[in-house]
Amino acid sequence: MSSEDQNSQEILDFASQVGASGPVTVVGGRTQWQVGGLPDPGAREVVAPSGVWSHQPEEMTVRCGAGTTLKELSEQLAKHGQMVPLDMDPTATVGGVLAVGRSGIRRLKYGHVRDLVLQIRHVDHEGKVVTSGGPTVKNVSGYDLCRLLVGSLGKFGCMAEVILRCLPVPQTTRWLSGPADPFEVYSKLYRPSSILWNGEQVWVCVEGVSSDVDAEAGLLDLEEVEGPPDLPTGRRVAVEPKSLKDLVPDGRSWVAEIGVGIVHTNDADTGWRVPEPNYSLMLDLEHRLDPTGRLNPGRQVVEA
């Protein structure tokens, strides 16, 4: 059997594990297991195939099982100086990170994780394999289902295989920190990778060739540090980037992603209101794609 045939067989095996009836839930690295609520206790646990199945450095794409850990993925890609900037717990799985759909702290530069996804094969509620997107770095063939799967907490289907876009690992990565006005920092730099702020300190990540990194760092009066601070893990709120200007240092612990608008906090309620999306259309989609609600039951994307 060729390796491609073997991967296809693994996907089919996963499809039959998911099957066509009964509640199922996909288990990844359990690093963001609580997001959206716990799955119903009666749901059968399934595990997606894993392994980096093909990395083509000259195409800057990688095909892997959705159950592959970020650690394995980044180790394989690093052999060719490449990466997929998912920036989550290394024991998390690719499928898990996509299903939750949260980006890491270099979002400012690298964008949303969904923009790194080229193709997804998932198993739907009937236990059938569905392919969406395409293997090339550019593609507008048909409706872009991959977008819906990212952030769906597996309620539209169980991801089996993904093809991701890779990026070159930057020559130099440097973190700087100190007291500074984060919004001034943002306006001084050209496309920094990350600016974090806790009301007193900023942490800035600049990446690129070393002369640029030196020059950008020279614009700031900050000290070099090892890396980003620990982020409060209690809650994560996304607000309009400019709302961060209303944050005041109040002695409570929070870290905000400047330019992005994500706040990591331990506060139970931040008091911030987020816009209400079109819940009825979302629920309708859920119903059409999984009429009996057997995929990851208990988890909620739509909090209606």
């Binding site: 000259e58 969904r114 550019k138 063939s141 048909g142 060739v209 980037p241």
Partner: protein, 478 residues
């Protein structure tokens, strides 16, 4: 056509829009085609000025059970804006205001009829631009860009439209108004914005779009590399990417393209070359200069001839002028052309290009290639004269062969022009019937009656409830 229903429908629309609802022959004549060779039959054209008018028009269509079709500038190349199934056309030309430039959020809210280049020109003094830059950017609309998830030369580094649209106000096919996505980084719920982008007008009408503002790069370098053998040019493309460099743009032109463009714009392109690469690097100066070095090294390993680095902005614009006028220049060799759009893995560029030449020869057509090589996005232009007997059959047969060759090489149907009518019946080359049925479920959630731009994207039979897709009207070639 059902004359009596049409009269009632037209009266209802006129009550909302006055003289901006039109059905005169002259005006309808302007709305039967887009940038493709396909043609349909428009019946009524509406020119609303705001969301409320669009909402009322869609509501009236819904109540009459009549399909509708959003139209931007009509530059689409897959027949997306070609009226089939008797739709009421909703043209966005009068919705062309930039509503709000919000620098603190680095976002601008614009109406869908705003032209792509007008937006970037408006943003330029503020130090920003809208990154997607289709070659048609002088005339295409933001609404059309959103609907087609359009790309452009600079999307190699910056990503296509979807990565630059954060929220969309949409009139859904039932006449309700909703906002998909929002200005936060992680909107609650499913990514409806993401599925709407690229849905080619089949999920509703975009009436306002929040686009991301990209800072203008502090430093830019533009290079023109020439090769005596197109294979070396293509190998250089792969080698540049494999060396870990992602240029802002990486475009390729073949011998015939160079010749006709040079005769047209005098950009100083080397007409003796077999292929040229137009490469742009942007960003911070160190990275840009490093990139220039990498390119010199890589190209030297692949038998590059000359490397011309634009010394100033004027020269840079001249080099781009050649690239951007390539389609117009084709008119010098034949009066008509058919522009194709497929993507192949970068490593297969040479193989598929050779097939394209062979296919053109076999059908007695002229193939000109000018394309986004950096992401493997081929744009073979088939030049022809529509007065020649039977030429369209050959053009379509050659097109099908090009699409087939691209898919066989591990590629996809379209990189940026979309499926529309043109490639609707090719969808089965890439997707199983179950894949397509799943896509249709999603479309159906937005548009249960199948009123929004019917007969597009998915082949008939993908969804049983679709009465409009049972037949393809006379006159529309699919």
């Amino acid at each position: 056509m059902q004359i009596s229903t049409d009269t009632k429908l037209f009266d209802d629309l006129s009550a909302v829009l006055g003289s901006r609802a039109r059905s005169g022959d002259f005006e309808l004549g302007l709305y039967g085609k887009d940038g493709s060779v396909l043609e349909g039959q428009p019946a009524i054209v509406c020119l609303p000025v705001d969301t409320e008018e669009v909402r009322q028009v869609v509501r009236i269509c819904h109540d009459h059970g009549r399909p509708f079709l959003a139209r931007g500038s009509g530059t689409g190349l897959a027949g997306g804006a070609v009226p089939v199934g008797d739709p009421v056309i909703i043209a966005t030309a009068k919705m062309n205001k930039i509503l709000d430039v919000d620098l603190d959020n680095r976002v601008a809210w614009v109406e869908p009829g705003v032209l792509n280049l007008d937006l970037s020109k408006e943003l330029s003094p503020l130090g920003f631009h809208f990154a997607p830059d289709p070659s048609s950017q002088q005339v295409c609309s933001i609404g059309g860009n959103v609907a087609n998830n359009s790309g452009g030369p600079h999307c190699l580094a910056y990503g296509v439209t979807s990565a630059h649209v954060v929220a969309i106000e949409v009139v859904l096919p039932d006449g309700s108004v909703t906002v998909l996505g929002d200005l936060t980084a992680e909107p609650h719920g499913y990514d409806l914005r993401g599925i709407f982008v690229g849905s080619e007008g089949t999920m509703g009408v975009a009436t306002k779009v929040a686009v991301r503002l990209t800072p203008n790069p502090p430093s830019v370098r533009t290079l023109l590399l020439d090769f005596a053998d197109v294979r070396d040019g293509a190998a250089t493309v792969s080698a540049i990417i494999a060396a870990g460099l992602i240029p802002a743009a990486l475009e390729m032109m073949d011998k015939r393209a160079i010749e006709i463009v040079e005769a047209f714009v005098n950009a100083g392109y080397p007409t003796e070359a077999d292929a040229v690469l137009l490469v742009e690097l942007d960003g911070l100066p160190g990275g840009v200069e490093h990139g220039v070095e990498v390119i010199r090294e890589v190209a030297a390993r692949h038998e590059v001839g000359n490397i011309r680095v634009a010394v100033d902005n004027e020269e840079r614009e001249l080099l781009w002028k050649g690239r951007k006028n390539a389609f117009g220049a084709v008119a010098r060799i034949k009066p008509d052309y058919y522009l194709h759009d497929t993507v192949v893995p970068r490593g297969k560029l040479v193989e598929v290009l050779e097939k394209v030449y062979n296919i053109a020869d076999a059908y007695d057509l002229i193939a000109v290639n000018v394309f986004h090589a950096g992401d493997g996005n081929l744009h073979p232009i088939l030049a022809y004269d529509s007065n020649e007997q039977g030429v369209m059959e050959r053009v379509h047969a050659a097109g099908r062969a090009i699409v087939t060759a691209s898919i066989e090489a591990g590629g996809v149907l379209s990189g940026e022009h979309g499926i529309g009518l043109e490639k609707r019946d090719y969808m089965g080359m890439l997707f199983s019937s179950h894949d397509m049925a799943t896509q249709d479920l999603i479309r159906e959630a937005f548009d249960p009656q199948g009123l929004a731009n019917p007969l597009k994207v998915l082949p008939s039979g993908s969804r049983c409830s679709d009465s409009f897709r049972q037949h393809v009207p006379e006159g529309a070639w699919v």
